[in-house]
Amino acid sequence: MIRPVLLIALPLFFAFLSPIIGIWSKKGVRYLIIFATALNATLAGILLLEALQKPVFDIIGGFQPPLGIVLMVGPLGAIIAFIINLVAFAISIYNLKVEKEPIVRYSMLYLLLVMGSTGMVLTGDLFNLFVFLEVTSIASYGLAAYNKDKKGYLGAMKYVIIGSIGSTFVLLGIALIYSQLRTLNMLDIAARIGTMDPYVKIMAFTSLFLGFGVEAEMFPLNTWVPDAYDGAPHPISAAFASLPAKAGVFALARVIFTMFSFTNFLWFVVVMGLLTVFFGEIVAYTQKDLKRMLAYSSIGQMGMIIMGLGIGTTLAVEGAFYQMIAHALGKALLFIAAGFLIYAARSGKIEDMKGMARNPLIGIPLLIGALSIMGMPPFAGFYGKFFILMGGFSQGYYAIIALFLAASIVEVAYYARFIKIVFERGNESKVIRPDAATYVPLIILAIIIVVIGVYPKPILTVLQHVGTFIAGGA
């Protein structure tokens, strides 16, 4: 019996502990972080098994829900939390490659980023969600500028400005809801959302949607994405794509399905998602810089997830969740590989990376990750896109499906170009062998992608509960 609160309390404990350990041994802190994320991933795995039986409610402070805070973990939240922590564990190994001082602070910020993202997924209280959003975003701001160069500062500054606007919107939405319903518990809100004034309801929904849209990289609010990803240290770019983004989009799902069970407003979500897909994929096609290309591709993928949520049928939402999982794994892998390629080629330009991935330790995982992101069948990324498309088809969104497919083709084209260049023969002397801190996380992620691609049954078993999630359950 695992209490979900441990997933939040233990990382906090380790984060507060690390400055003390850091006085004696800086290396010790790094291994402590790896241990903490591994422990968290294990606990999240056990929690997932528990949540599959029935949703877990963890009352905090001993006060019944609307009075106090409650964590609400259904099967879907549990699997997203599990994936977040698993990826966080893989990235924490790659963190060993970061050398720049102050390394203890870096480790703490990273651990708190993981904690905040996990908390956003687990919580069942609207204001608590906002608190964890703040934790996540402030940790992200610090990490985005960690390189302390011009690119890093620029990206972090954009992120800070847009992120604060987003947080303000979330807070406004919460204030509107509280002013009408006098409660902050999500299920309590859901039970009484009908008594709200319709105008206030729509304003609250729009505010929350836009606010969480910043983390979820939704179209008009994602101008920070390429700069922040580009300027951040390589492990952090990987973490950005997998942790806060997934937590943000899960919060969106909570807003849409758990709290406001809107059905007539979902076209808005679909349109926003589609715009995001288009913006991301088309700009990604024109990029020459590897990390920027991956960042724009990440925007595109997040748009697909938002679209899946907006289509709103069981199949499409299932696809959106599968896509979240696949994208978290695949994009983390690609960013880690990108970090290695940039290090090996001493340049961020794709054209300078000729043949850099010819070592099988880097090449095979890279290939698997890219194919998965493109949505090729035997890998994890396929099911997400496929289910979203099928869901859209069954709802009759024909034009949208056509545009979606066109965007996917563009995606295939630019990834194919990238793959072709990195496997091309040329400057053999510069090809180097990655060290363990690079290839171990790559191989872990690649194995998971292949396993859940070839044998998707466990994931699909969990995703069966999408029906209850859409109906407003945990």
Partner: protein, 321 residues
């Protein structure tokens, strides 16, 4: 149970083998016909089988690295996967919900394998060829996608087997949606990389492009790959627009129906292939930008017209097959 599985596996092997044989035969026929048009005698039809045997028996000395070794297998595996999803004369090995969308995805796999392997060889001609192939893919996928979408809207299904069923019961796609069929055929020409779209291979300019570094067993595998691709591409058109060659209902006529359907399907893909070959023999080659512009202009417009037709028919006129 076990015997069922064995029979199924045997049938799969048989169908895949037949597909390869058909592909090689078609290639031979194409060579002969092109030669005839150009007033040559040309090699015998079975020449390709001899070539293949020779290539596979050869020892290979060209060593690049693991990507190079892996790529032909990747391409061939992709082709076999597509073949497994395509109905050949009404028999489908693997099928499921929404395999029309699935097809769109896996159609890209062989091209990727190609891109990988030839990139890995480091030959500049191969690199040029691959970039052309990828651009060409980007161009013909656009109209093709709209065509598939019109079919999906008109027949209101995303499953190939249901599509075949409905075509058999109602009307062949080419009769119901002639505009889309035209767009699909133009896209098909690019997909098969026949003239005027044989830009990626372009034997005279870039020495067969992606193939240039491959020899021996690798070339043999790639030959099988292109044989399989021919069957895939022609059969795709037949399945989408010519009812998959199903004339007899298998539930009524049993095994006989499968046999007859297979023969009809064979005849139909031969016709489609012949059209492609004649176009190939007559037209000169486009440049890649021309091809790209062409595809995003004419076939796309035609395909959109087809889409409008399908939409109007199914939504406004209420034609439900």
């Amino acid at each position: 149970m076990v015997t069922d599985w064995l029979i199924h596996a045997g049938l799969v092997a048989l169908y895949l083998f037949l597909a390869m044989v058909i592909g090689l035969l078609f290639m031979g026929i194409a060579r002969k016909i092109t030669a005839r048009i150009q007033n040559r005698v040309g090699p015998p039809i079975y020449q390709n089988f001899l070539d293949l045997g020779k290539l596979l028996a050869k020892k290979t000395n060209i060593k690049h690295n693991w990507i190079f070794d892996f790529a032909p297998l990747f391409g061939l595996g992709g082709v076999l996967l597509i073949l497994a999803y395509l109905p050949m004369g009404g028999y489908i090995m693997l099928s499921g919900q929404g395999d029309l969308i699935l097809l769109l995805y896996i159609l890209a796999i062989p091209a990727l394998g190609f891109a990988l392997g030839s990139g890995a060889s480091g030959n500049p001609n191969a690199g040029v060829g691959v970039m052309r192939a990828l651009t060409l893919m980007l161009s013909y996928e656009m109209p093709f996608l709209i065509v598939i979408l019109s079919l999906m809207i008109f027949y209101n299904t995303a499953s190939l087997s249901v599509l075949l069923q409905k075509q058999m019961n109602y009307l062949w796609g080419i009769a119901a949606l002639p505009i889309s069929a035209l767009a699909a055929d133009i896209a098909l020409q690019g997909m098969m990389a026949e003239k005027p779209f044989d830009i990626p291979i372009a034997p005279h300019e870039i020495a067969s492009g992606p193939l240039v570094e491959f020899g021996g067993k690798y070339l043999g595998l790639l030959m099988l790959y292109s044989a399989g691709s021919i069957v895939v591409e022609t059969s795709l058109f037949v399945d989408l627009f010519l009812g998959g060659g199903i004339v007899l209902n298998p539930t009524v006529y049993g095994t006989l129906a499968y046999f007859v359907n297979y023969l009809v399907w064979l005849a139909l893909i031969f016709v489609v292939w012949m059209i492609a070959i004649f176009v190939n023999a007559v037209f000169p080659r486009f440049r890649i930008e021309q091809a790209f512009k062409f595809y995003w202009k004419w076939p796309t417009v035609i395909a959109i017209a087809g889409l409008v037709q399908a939409y109007v028919m199914s939504v406004f006129l209420g034609v439900v097959p």
